[in-house]
């Protein structure tokens, strides 16, 4: 019933809710990451080779890469919704707005592929 309500009665509600849900996911990820970084401290070793090795070891587990990918997917979705709202509020020329929105969409898709490539190769 809830889904029915979101998809048929109030389609804009889905976008609104997506923005909030992605925000919650990102907040949980960021707080966990900061706590993990403070506990394990994969930086600040005597030599930068050791620091790099520690940072690489921190970033290489599958669970880190997967959760980071989920985080960035939420980030891109959140950014897409946010930028669309900003453009709708301030760019009144519809053609110009459509082009700007398209540029943003392309940039976000490129970022996604870039991040998949980075996380795949860690």
């Amino acid at each position: 019933m809830f889904i029915q309500l979101l998809t048929h009665k109030y389609p804009g509600m889905r976008l609104w809710l997506s923005q909030r849900l992605t925000a919650v996911v990102m907040a949980i990820y960021i707080v966990s990451l900061i706590i993990l970084l403070l506990i394990t401290q994969p930086f600040g070793y005597a030599t930068w080779q050791e620091s790099y090795a520690a940072w690489y070891a921190f970033a290489s587990p599958v669970w880190f890469r997967l959760s980071t990918l989920v985080f960035f997917m939420c980030l891109l979705m959140h950014a897409w919704l946010g930028v669309a709202d900003v453009l709708k509020d301030y760019v009144f020329n519809k053609t110009l707005r459509a082009y700007m929105q398209m540029a943003v969409d392309i940039a976000l898709v490129v970022y996604l592929f870039w991040l998949v490539y980075i996380l795949w190769n860690v």
Binding site: Q49, Y56, A59, A79, G82, V83, V86, I118
Partner: protein, 135 residues
């Protein structure tokens, strides 16, 4: 003088008076927190490619890691990082405030003003801690 009666219904919308002289509007503190949330969001969006690039460089190779840490250690980049950290902390804390308001927590005017002030102080404190840590 505009005679609305002479126009078709579709044109009426265009003839509505607008008050967009921003200097006649004094922003309340809640509006300040809200507009800064939007501005910091745009800032974070614009900084996103740089952040991804830094993330990639830090994991590329030991040499790139060393290069990146040297770049990030210059004072003007540190100032930029502090500015970015402001955008992050403001978007983060003001965002949590907006989420709490979405579930109808602290929505009366007085409480909303209090939470606005609280968010601004928390952001200031966080930016100071961040600056202290990276310097």
């Amino acid at each position: 003088m505009i005679k609305l009666g002479d126009k078709k219904l579709g044109d009426k919308k265009k003839l509505r008076p607008k008050n967009l002289n921003l200097f006649t509007i004094r922003l309340p503190i809640n509006a300040v927190v809200s507009i800064l949330h939007r501005a910091s969001g745009v800032g974070l969006f614009l900084a996103l490619p740089l952040f991804i690039l830094a993330f990639k460089t830090s994991l590329d190779s030991p040499n790139h890691y060393f290069l990146l840490s040297n770049i990030l250690n210059t004072w003007y980049i540190k100032l930029m990082l502090i500015a970015l950290s402001w955008a992050f902390f403001h978007h983060f804390f003001a965002g949590i405030r907006h989420l709490l308001q979405d579930i109808h927590w602290m929505t009366s005017l007085q409480k909303a003003r209090f939470s606005s002030r609280f968010v601004l102080w928390l952001v200031g404190f966080s930016v100071c801690v961040f600056a202290w840590i990276i310097w």
